[in-house]
């Protein structure tokens, strides 16, 4: 069941997708600005989903 907590990472990442690029990175006009930020978010979303679905077994589920 604990694996479900990882969904909170997803919610936090989604929120950061608005706050960080529009707030902190608005003036950074280079690849290491918003591009890199959203790239890293994408990778972390995959990691979070791997963790959330750890308990998905053959028949019964978590």
């Amino acid at each position: 069941m604990n694996s479900r907590r990882w969904i909170w990472l997803v919610w936090a990442l989604v929120l950061s997708c608005y706050v960080v690029p529009y707030g902190l990175l608005g003036q950074v006009q280079a690849w290491y600005g918003s591009f890199l930020f959203w790239f890293v978010v994408g990778v972390l979303v995959i990691v979070a989903n791997i963790m959330i679905t750890q308990g998905f077994k053959d028949e019964s589920g978590s």
């Binding site: 608005y18 994408g42 995959i46």
Partner: protein, 488 residues
């Protein structure tokens, strides 16, 4: 690029895909006792690998390599952020997927709208959901058809007309969904997905290389188009526009029946996990490739008249060898067709299962299936007519479709998490919310200066909650449903 080369590639693609579609025929979809669940869900026996590829091909369409690349070209890196928020939204599958799967298996649901009708104990909810899905998804399918039209016209320098491209893709979609229902859709999808990702990634790397590599590409962007590397950037992605685009797309995996129906199909939760993770890896690569594509076009051809031409222009340019260019073109054609055939199949299952079976008294499974197969080409023709309108900036149009569908989301979340939700609440949110969205798009009105994409969800939530609170809930049905979803 020569017209012969383009037609030759399309022909090879057609032959290979039709062979795969024929090979996919099975007892469940083409046998003697084929029923609705067999034809439209593959008897809930789909494996994880095929499901992952098919989910990817269905979700990602001409929108990515044409629309998203165009959006990046016009609006810069904000397009990437928009797609990443959508991408994060697919995590909803990890939460809702097992629930859909469990109730689908227990109650035998074929469509998500049927599920809502059952949960709220009222067939009208199923009818309203099915009709709303048609109203918004047929334009969305049309967007894909238009994508192919732009692509073929752009790459052949006008030798192949927009209309010819649209007709070709409509016919292919009808063929792939007809041969073996969901099985031919999923198997051709898988083939197309592999083709899409390999070809587009290879060619994107090649283009970036020919423009001097990643550092050169980003250095040029930073010096010549600095605004494209931040938001709001060149102006397209103001914060409110970004919100208006991302909110509906965040809920895409729940609101769009052609993907939420997929949650009924995996043979086990393990297969569902493979479907989700496989899709995410595919989606991330494809997103980055499409964005790099748009950036490359901006560096190579900064003066295009229409941003939707970014991809075809790049593919037809000296940066891409003609044979590779035409391979990617077929990949994009495949991406569009694999989305349209899934939409057509899902909509026809909804119209027969939820509208026809709720209106006609004695609608047996066999009759539903027959109606479903008749409806398929009718939907295709409607989408074709819509595509012929040739509206500009196809990405924005397809977002209008997502905005409309997001009004179904409160009823879906409520079905699993809010016992007090009622049929009247669900109807009010879907019909009322849907009408509000249509009004906002038609009139162009922006209350408080905010676009329809921002208004749709809160309006639907308020209607769902308020009307539910003043009407009587079917507690027994709600308990049974929610209990099944939790147990899984």
């Amino acid at each position: 690029m020569s017209t012969n080369l383009i037609w030759g590639a399309v022909l090879i693609y057609l032959v290979v895909a039709v062979v795969v579609a024929y090979l996919s025929r099975g007892e469940a979809t083409n046998g003697k006792g084929v029923d609705m669940s067999g034809y439209f869900l593959g008897n809930r026996q789909m494996n994880g690998f095929v499901s992952a590829l098919s989910y990817s091909a269905t979700t990602y369409s001409a929108f990515m390599m044409v629309g998203l690349a165009g959006l990046t070209y016009a609006g810069g890196v904000g397009a990437f952020g928009f797609e990443i928020v959508y991408f994060a939204g697919v995590s909803l599958v990890a939460i809702f997927g097992p629930r859909f799967w469990a109730v689908g298996k227990r109650f035998g649901f074929v469509t998500p709208s049927e599920m809502l009708g059952h949960r709220y104990g009222n067939g009208k909810v199923a009818v309203a959901t099915a009709v709303a899905s048609c109203v918004f998804l047929i334009p969305y399918a049309a967007v894909q058809l238009a994508g192919v039209g732009y692509l073929l016209a752009g790459m052949s320098g006008g030798a192949i007309s927009f209309t010819t491209g649209v007709i070709v893709s409509t016919l292919l979609a009808i063929l792939f969904s007809y041969i073996a229902g969901i099985r031919s859709v999923m198997w051709t999808d898988s083939l197309q997905a592999l083709f899409m990702i390999v070809a587009s990634t290879l060619v994107a790397l090649l283009v970036v290389h020919s423009l001097g590599g990643f550092s050169e590409l980003f250095d040029t962007l930073a010096s010549e188009h600095p605004a494209s590397l931040s938001v709001p950037g060149p102006g397209l992605f103001s914060f409110t526009t970004f919100l208006g685009l991302t909110i509906p797309w965040f809920f895409f995996s729940l609101s769009n029946p052609q993907v939420s129906q997929r949650l009924f199909m995996p043979s086990s939760l393990k297969s569902m996990r493979q479907m989700l993770i496989g899709f995410l890896i595919f989606g991330f690569i494809y997103t980055v490739v499409s964005v790099l594509w748009g950036f490359s076009a901006l560096v190579a051809f900064p003066e295009l008249a229409k941003s939707d031409l970014a991809t075809p222009t790049l593919l037809a340019s000296e940066h891409v060898p003609p044979v590779l260019g035409v391979i990617v073109m077929v990949g994009i054609l495949a991406a569009a067709v694999s989305t349209i055939d899934s939409i057509m199949l899902t909509l026809s299952s909804m119209l027969s299962r939820d509208v026809y079976a709720n209106v006609v008294a004695d609608a047996s499974e066999a009759k539903q299936l027959k109606v479903g197969k008749w409806v398929l080409p009718i939907i295709a023709i409607l989408a074709f007519l819509f595509a012929e309108l040739q509206l500009n900036l196809i990405a924005v149009l397809s977002v209008a479709a997502s905005t409309g569908l997001v009004v179904i989301v409160p009823a879906i979340i409520g079905a699993f998490y809010w016992q007090r939700g009622t049929a009247a609440g669900a109807l009010a949110s879907i019909i009322g919310g849907g009408l509000v969205v249509i009004y906002l798009y038609l009139s162009g009105v922006k209350p408080l200066g905010l676009p329809a994409g921002i208004w749709a969800l809160p309006v639907a939530v308020v209607l769902f909650v308020a009307v539910s609170l003043v009407t009587r809930a079917n507690r027994e049905r709600a308990n049974e449903f929610m209990e099944t979803a939790r147990r899984r």
